[in-house]
């Protein structure tokens, strides 16, 4: 490639076998923004340049899981094609969609807000101010339907997860854990610290779209009070998308 000297050399990803019908394309063992961008770029490249036999892709923070049909393509051949795609400089990524999600912080909606403030030697208001100031990106969606892991949490808010995970946390919970913040859609277990709740359903059957957020979308939060939450929660239950789409 003639312009190779001007393009920063990318370390090739590792190809890890995940059984006979999937390959994990691993860019990093850690959570880092650059690797997540490469994951999303490869995911995008597979949409633009489909490989016959690839059936489904699952982006995560650090790797892309590529499901395929071994009747149509073998491990070696698919691996080589994926390496070629991954080493290509990522195409200009389409402008990401940017969402603003309402959040009712603290009280019954965010039962850990006061404890988080105490642990970090500050006030609950300061935690909220910092959390709404962040510009986040959907790094991956997983665990349960619509559970969106966001990167971009400011280091001041990095906290180890709870020693004892809770078995049941509410639908719509906005929480922090480690270096991440997240939007949890369905009620379920969580070891993260619960700051608030959003009325937005990132997953809702019988609504179009069923899944609101895509990996790569940008997300910011804004604070609403508990009564606004209750009102928007009813609207969302009826199928309204109460999130704001800023740009697309």
């Amino acid at each position: 490639m003639s312009n190779a000297a001007t393009v920063p050399l990318l370390i090739p990803p590792r190809l890890l076998p995940s059984g006979d019908s999937a390959i994990t394309v691993e860019f990093s063992r850690h959570i880092d923004d650059a690797s997540n961008r490469r994951v999303l770029a490869l995911d995008r490249a597979l949409v633009d340049t489909p490989i016959a036999g690839v059936t489904e892709t699952v982006p995560t923070y650090r790797s892309l899981l590529v499901h395929y049909d071994p009747v149509q393509i073998g491990f070696e051949e698919l691996g080589n094609k994926l390496l070629v795609l991954a080493e290509r400089p990522s195409p200009a990524i389409a402008k990401a969609r940017r969402w603003r999600l309402p959040v009712a912080y603290g009280g019954d909606n965010g039962i850990d807000l006061d404890d988080v403030a105490m642990t970090l030697n500050t006030t609950p208001d300061d935690i909220v101010t910092r959390h709404v100031a962040g510009h986040y990106r959907v790094a991956m969606i997983g665990f349960t339907p619509g559970w969106s892991y966001l990167s971009g949490l400011e280091p001041f808010l990095h906290m180890p997860r709870r020693q004892n995970p809770r078995l049941l946390t509410p639908a719509g919970t906005i929480s922090i854990g480690g270096v991440q913040t997240g939007v949890q859609c369905l009620a379920g277990p969580s070891g993260w610290h619960l700051l608030g709740r959003t009325p937005v359903r990132t997953y809702q059957l019988h609504r179009e779209p069923i899944f609101l957020l895509e990996p790569g979308d940008e997300v910011t939060f804004f604070a609403i009070d508990a009564s606004t939450f209750a009102e928007q929660d009813r609207a969302a239950e009826a199928g309204e998308i109460v999130a704001e789409l800023v740009a697309s």
Binding site: E56, T60, H67
Partner: protein
């Protein structure tokens, strides 16, 4: 309207098909049948497309009653006693439940899941192309939950097609095969050897999300937390306590424990049918061998209809019946009544 009514059923029984694909990137698990070959064989017998939704019957007994007409069904998977109105019926055959009569299934023997296909399939509203039940996500149709007594399935009136059986290849009793990885480098050579050389048992706390394994403790080299990455059916993850869990069709789409190995796709169904408490071993094979097996399995599925035989001319294979432990002495295939009374445990 003709219906098949569930008049009694145990836990872990639900509508399952080939699974829900394409939305794992949103955290939506594929679900689908635990034993795909048994699902495909049941559908083949009933004249349905191979991955049509069936009733996946868990280890406990169940009864189904035909109402307002006869219902034609087919039965495969984990063997168990089966009779219609007291007349025994054989596994891996189609059968017609006359109007008002009941198909009674006993406890699974030598397996866990049986499949009941209904001629014409199950009427429901597909979500992401599938009727498969995923109770946690509220998905599945016509009932987005495990089945209960009183549930009803619309059925077309039974066709008068001749009943048939299917000749499936003999199941190997060999070790469950796997390929190492994706995170086998998180384990020492000793830990890997211990994993491959030990006898394992499936814990009674297993479910459609994962089978917990009982055996030696498998230690990690660098601790048990990795940054979450994607999972597949058959991923063998090793959590902090060192007791491996094999992820099954209702698994989470991502996980944060190192995965030492992955079952080959061909052996997933055979593994799913191992009853809790029964000892078994693993065997690592190469990727080339695993993919060659996968291609052979795809060929087997494609050619399933060639394995159908008319039931009238069946030359009942007594040895095979002994093998699945459903026959105690010689019986006549032509007079199903002679089976009755030999089906008890």
């Amino acid at each position: 309207m003709t219906q098949l009514i569930v008049t009694s059923i145990g836990p872990v029984s639900s509508v399952q098909d080939g699974g829900r694909h394409g939305a794992q990137r949103y955290g939506l698990t594929p679900s689908g049948a635990m034993d795909r070959l048994a699902l495909a064989a049941a559908n083949c017998l009933a004249g349905n497309a191979l991955f049509t939704a069936c009733i996946e019957v868990g280890p406990f007994g169940a009864t189904f009653k035909a109402r307002e007409g006869a219902v034609r069904v087919a039965l495969t998977g984990a063997p168990r006693s089966a009779d219609i109105g007291g007349r025994s019926v054989a596994f891996e055959t189609s059968m017609t439940i006359p109007d008002g009569e009941t198909l009674t299934l006993g406890f699974a023997r030598g397996g866990a899941f049986s499949y009941l296909a209904i001629e014409g399939g199950i009427a429901g509203e597909p979500m992401f192309g599938s009727l498969a039940v995923n109770a946690r996500a509220g998905l599945g149709s016509p009932y987005p939950r495990p089945l209960q007594a009183g549930d009803a399935f619309e059925a077309r009136f039974a066709s008068s097609a001749a009943e048939r059986r299917i000749e499936l290849p003999a199941q190997t009793a060999g070790p469950i095969r796997l390929v190492m990885g994706p995170q086998d480098d998180e384990f020492s050579d000793e830990a890997k050897a211990q994993f491959l050389d030990s006898e394992w048992k499936i814990s009674a706390t297993s479910d459609r999300m994962g089978y917990r394994l009982e055996g030696p403790t498998i230690r990690h080299l660098h601790g048990h937390n990795i940054v979450s990455d994607g999972t597949v059916n058959g991923s063998i993850q090793v959590p902090g306590n060192g007791a491996p869990i094999v992820l099954m069709p209702d698994r989470g789409t991502s996980g944060g424990y190192p995965k030492i190995a992955t079952l080959i796709s061909v052996d997933l169904g055979r593994f799913a049918q191992i009853p809790a408490g029964t000892g078994f071993r693993f065997k690592a094979i190469s990727m080339a061998e695993a993919q060659s097996e996968a291609r052979k399995f795809a060929g087997l599925l494609r050619a399933l209809p060639d394995r159908l035989r008319p039931l009238e001319t069946v030359d009942l294979n007594i040895e095979a019946l002994h093998h699945v432990n459903v026959a105690g002495s010689a019986v006549s295939a032509h007079d199903a009544g002679t089976w009755h009374g030999m089906m008890q445990d």
